[in-house]
Symmetry: C2
Subunit: 477 residues, 2 copies
């Protein structure tokens, strides 16, 4: 496999295939998510779905074919999405009268139904979510990061006023940030997008941005306050307590299979994937070693131990069914596939009554293989997994901090965004953002929510800063 | 609402909208699944997904756009599905070189990848499943039963030989039959389809058939043994133990949102839905009654009781947030929406220390409202729900048996399929099936798996029976 330092993109592209996360689809830009990759998605999905439901949202399912005319009702929205649309023109053997767009996102079709379902202020807030596939035709596809078809959830809500809609927008942003930290061990930075980076049709767009191990940024989830833009376009109105008709304020927010790409690029190394235990299909793999009777004895112990670990609610896999492969091959294989904890049981381990525990990365400098008494393995495993999860988060946080720097000159800016993030003042003008992008390939990632109040001159053009704090700039996926 | 006896179709069409299960989609034949309907799907999905995983299958996700050329590789398959396809011809602003079919089912695209992933007999069986949306352009759409886009799971597996593939085919059929009985309280009949009713490309197709309350049949899940048809078309081959190349034997099986239509038509009545507790979004609804202080006291008790019932792992909803509606309206509303158990708490109930329990249907003749001491409600509820679930299954079984009859003359056949199922001998010729359909609108639903061995003359043409047992005939959805 190509080392990260040599060509990070090549490393990524090779790894996603080799680790059996995905395969290239038959149509350019599409992907087949294989069981190992799909299980990661299921783990993420289960956790996010729980958060979404606990906060009072209901899941629903809207059609994926949207009449072209719906998109045209919101001018900015159609302009933003038109170049990326896939269009069904023939169905049931006939040319369709009105072409159907395969949803790139569902504000328009959901807007139509919100208008139908909402009558009174009593019907608000209306809190909907759907898990769906969406299609955006990609010119530069990349597995998980930008695929023509991808999986996501999209929340769509309607509220009585701006204040309530903004509370919702920030709830979703916070849910995404927590999920990224807790599950994916990604120390993302939440913040607002600059006007030039807003979602097509939004009044305000918020994002969580993670730093990948090549110093680039990945937008890993977004939450939009849509104001009354879609409410106007689709007549989402309610009768208020005084009986007067008013426009609803709507939001939308999404997180997708892109997140899996984020996990790969936040934690992976030249030996392959490194999966945070909470998103790992196998948190622990047990490899019995030995031939003939010895092999049978270690395999039996591996199965017994596997059952005991499983009883602790841990996802464990016993690799006892591939006699044609050497232990060394298996060790490398599970390392490449990012399994957090490997337990080896050889004849000598068995004699000594231990399993040899190997972490995917040493959590303490110089820490190597560690023998653990067999009977203690199940009870210590939850702690070992939790420590490994924390270690990954802390390591990623250190890496991000080490590669983020406040800069005040254009020279420093260019040097910093070459391999990390720059905290810089910006004038807020989209033309100036475009100039910066043309010169350095860097874009404003977000106005960090927790950035300290500070004033200064735009790092590019010298005009006064627009946001009262520094903006994060970086190259992005 | 139109009564069932007057116009069963109208009853169904009105009810699915009124109960807020679905709304008509913006494109003809599509549906919006609303939260109340989607929750039913999630409950079904969770149970079936568990069964699928426990039996060793892995979930994956294949692209929904399939190159047109893939479908043409299996002659019968393309012939069967061609009339129903939706086709993307434009994407990213350009005419596509090869049109893309929106999957009507995924044998072809999955076949392509099975061929890629399978090398040795060690890679078999390959047991895959996906939860997906599929598109079949429908000329006579009907919410849940036949919609242009619908949700389903599709299992796709590859095996070393026919015996192993047939074991899988029958496993899936059995899983569907159990799910229908256990969850949906639908006493379905499993059996094989006659050749004329087979899936396009299958060697053998199996089905579960349920009887709806108008006497018609609903095919609620199918499982196919595909032989080596798709293996030949896509070169799904493996090296056997002797190193020789052999074709894999494949299967596919699917269950869809159609099942929800089955639940509605198996149990519903003129007052609305009747949901089996295991598929009910709310298993219990508590309606507090009374105004001002009395209303506050009953609402407080309703919330306390709701929490206690929830703690038992029961899905309970407290209807304490619609002061604008009368108790009578709420009772009718929950009845129409099919909630199995309603608990009413009025001021007099509170005084007497009881809740008034009302079942959606009396499980015992003449049984009406029943007071239950408040402190006993949580402990008795699991039993009450289980009894209600069993009652629905038994009632549906009695109904089906009462409306199924062995017939041996053509006159009896016509009379029987007018409102139920006929058990009849059949010659097995597709032309004869077509004649029967033209004359009576009835089709062979299945050769019931547990039908006793019997020989006789074809009820239509008099030729000897082909199956060694009677075939179920009925009109179908």
């Amino acid at each position: 496999m190509t080392p990260q330092s040599e060509d990070f993109s090549a490393w990524y592209n090779e790894l996603v295939i080799k680790a059996q996360l995905v395969d290239r689809g038959p149509v350019r830009g599409t992907m087949v998510i294989r069981p190992y990759g799909y299980r990661i998605w299921e783990l993420l999905q289960a956790d996010l779905d729980r958060r979404i439901k606990e906060a009072g949202h209901d899941n629903a399912c809207f059609p994926m074919f949207i009449p072209e005319s719906y998109l045209r009702r919101e001018a900015e929205h159609v302009e933003g999405f038109s170049p990326e649309l896939a269009v069904v023109t023939v169905a049931g053997g006939k040319e369709l009268e009105e072409p159907l767009v395969v949803r790139p996102t569902s504000e328009t079709v959901i807007g139509e139904y919100m208008a139908k379902w909402i009558e009174s202020h009593r019907d608000l807030p209306l809190l909907l979510n759907q898990w769906a596939n969406v299609v955006r035709w990609e010119m530069r596809p990349r597995m998980f990061l930008r695929t023509t078809e991808f999986l996501w959830q999209e929340g769509h809500t309607a509220h009585i006023d701006e204040a309530d809609a903004m509370r919702e927008t920030m709830w979703a942003l916070d849910a995404y940030a927590s999920l990224a930290r807790d599950l994916a061990a990604m120390p993302v930075v939440p913040g607002e997008k600059t006007p030039g980076e807003r979602f097509a049709g939004a009044v305000r767009t918020y994002t969580i941005e993670g730093m990948m191990r090549d110093g680039r940024a990945l937008q890993a989830g977004t939450s939009h306050y849509l104001g009354t833009n879609f409410a106007k376009a689709f007549e989402i109105q309610y009768q208020d307590e005084a009986g007067k008709l008013a426009l609803a304020h709507t939001t939308s927010w999404g997180m997708s299979t892109r997140m899996i790409g984020g996990v790969i690029m936040t934690h992976g190394d030249d030996n392959g994937l490194v999966l945070p235990p909470r998103m790992a299909p196998h948190q622990v793999v047990i490899v019995p070693i030995g031939r003939k009777e010895q092999g049978e004895a270690t395999a039996a112990e591996a199965r017994r131990l596997g059952a005991a670990i499983k009883a602790m609610g841990i996802r464990v896999h016993v690799d006892d069914n591939r006699p044609q492969l050497s232990p060394g091959f298996k060790f490398n294989d599970w390392e490449m596939r990012g399994v957090p904890i490997r337990l080896e049981i050889g004849p000598r381990d068995l004699e000594a009554g231990v399993a040899t525990l190997v972490r995917r990365l040493p959590t303490v400098e110089g820490q190597g293989k560690e023998p653990i008494p067999l009977e203690r393995v199940p009870e210590v495993m939850p702690g070992i997994l939790a420590d490994f999860q924390s270690f990954l988060l802390a390591r990623a946080e250190t890496f991000r901090n080490d590669n983020t720097r406040a800069v005040d000159t254009w020279d420093d800016f260019g040097a910093q965004v070459a391999g990390g993030w720059a905290l810089a003042f910006h004038c807020g003008r989209t033309e100036c953002e475009d100039d910066i992008k043309a010169d350095t390939a860097a874009t404003p990632r977000c106005i960090p929510a927790d950035g300290p109040a500070e004033e200064g001159a735009c790092v590019k053009c010298g005009l006064p800063s627009a946001y009262g704090k520094r903006v994060i700039f970086g190259k992005a996926y």
